[in-house]
Symmetry: C2
Subunit: 328 residues, 2 copies
Amino acid sequence: MVTSKVWVLKKHFEGFPKTSDFELKKIELPNLKDGELLLESVFLSVDPYMRYSRKDMKEGDIMIGTQVARIVESKNPAFTVGTFVVAGSGWRTHFISDGKGLQLLPSSWPESLPKSLALGTVGMPGLTAYFGLLEVCKVKIGDTVLVNAAAGAVGSVVGQLAKIGGCKVVGSAGSDDKVAYLKKIGFDEAFNYKTVKSLDEALRKASPDGYDCFFDNVGGEFTSIAINQMKKYGRIAICGGISQYNDTVPQKGPYVQIPMLFKELLMEGFIVTRWNNRWEEGQKALLKWVVEGKLKYHEHVTEGFENMPMAFIGMLKGENLGKAIVKV
Amino acid sequence: MVTSKVWVLKKHFEGFPKTSDFELKKIELPNLKDGELLLESVFLSVDPYMRYSRKDMKEGDIMIGTQVARIVESKNPAFTVGTFVVAGSGWRTHFISDGKGLQLLPSSWPESLPKSLALGTVGMPGLTAYFGLLEVCKVKIGDTVLVNAAAGAVGSVVGQLAKIGGCKVVGSAGSDDKVAYLKKIGFDEAFNYKTVKSLDEALRKASPDGYDCFFDNVGGEFTSIAINQMKKYGRIAICGGISQYNDTVPQKGPYVQIPMLFKELLMEGFIVTRWNNRWEEGQKALLKWVVEGKLKYHEHVTEGFENMPMAFIGMLKGENLGKAIVKV
């Protein structure tokens, strides 16, 4: 018998999530049946989408989420003990699977590369950047690309992919350390939105001609200001709206119709699962760039399964540089 | 010597345009030089975009606009006296042209058809509906299409084209007469947004499953409510924002990022001039449907050039059913 620790959503989030919204429980796992596997989480992911647990969960459910896990026991001939997979089994230290939906790491994954990247730069956040830039922003050589939350798991990949694609890249982030990191990984311009006198001026200074593409992870006031600096036919990819996630009353801002109309802008919201059938293509491309050193990564690792709620809340506050990961 | 009456923008509009913002003047036209034509306006158009004169005009300029005009004198062998053309010569009874930019009516134009339609259903507003539906909304058979200001010059064409294309069509308009007209020309559902208890309920009742396409002429609060009733991957074409044009202080509403994101919506602003190179294709299609009786039209005709400001202001107030036209 194996005991699994799990984090349960005790109370639906109201406003900013609190540690008291979660509860740590222990579950005894049954013995494996034929065809089943026992897995042990090695790295767990905390991501902004989990704030929207109300959509997919009820109180008392185990928190949704993905992990890199190791197979510790197998009664399924298709899976060998010791193999690492990506699973979507929620906040658990151990779990049983019939193998369905488990993703093997690409066979070209080098030993030297942290397997946690399969939850970040070479995983869902990286693919979000990849498909959002290619399919929604439709970036082309010479475009000027704006990205906010630029030092985050998605934003940092967006900027670097845009550079690989021959664009000028401007990033906004929430600390001077993050800004320094963005410049280090090749952003042409970067600024701390919390300390600039005027966001409007900062955007104008970073690209006086305006922006062709805006990869928006933040929404709200940032977007209302940025939209006025889009070029004619500019494209806005709405990937997230982290400025809005913790509102109890929806915030208001200027209506978007007038700038959308006169500049003939295109705005599209997207969720990466739309391209599930192209996952392999994207992952292969990202892995290749990482291995070649063209795509840098940074992880913000919290040690200890018991710290998952704190890691999640810290990520929502923007405490992480790069991908927020929990190491069990 | 010919005397032309012209309407001048005396003062830039502040809030809702007033008749005192305009001034009627007389201009003596010089004699024609070789290559030139003298034209007489027969029908003039008043359109919402003229509210944005500040973008294209300064105080003292003649009001921008288009007309159907008759050639009354010609020193240009390419143009015959008596021919009707569409010109973009502003609010004038007479004007001189070198022929550049004048558009002949399609050769298939039947004698029985009012030439004023070249300013409406078979002109710029009709083409706005045509390209907006085809290229921005990308309507396909079976889609449910929502259009507001549905009894206006653009909206009434949008609804009928969507019906021709095999869609279900829901229209919103501002009077019971307009609603009756919409039902007469084939809208599946129509309601008076000014008298419904709840716009949200009216939209839900008209299409409980939501909307695939939303052709938005209005913006503001209407859009904020409608956006929550879009289906997954819904398309919103922003053609106008007449609820916003006369604001002195920009109105505010809920940010759009959350619904855009979770439903993966696409929103695009557009101006019909984007498809200038396909004008002939669109005009031919619209004329054919009109001649076949599949595309009905209604004109709201104001008599007398001196009444142009009133006709313009009345159109902004929504007094027109169908296209607002001034007959000189």
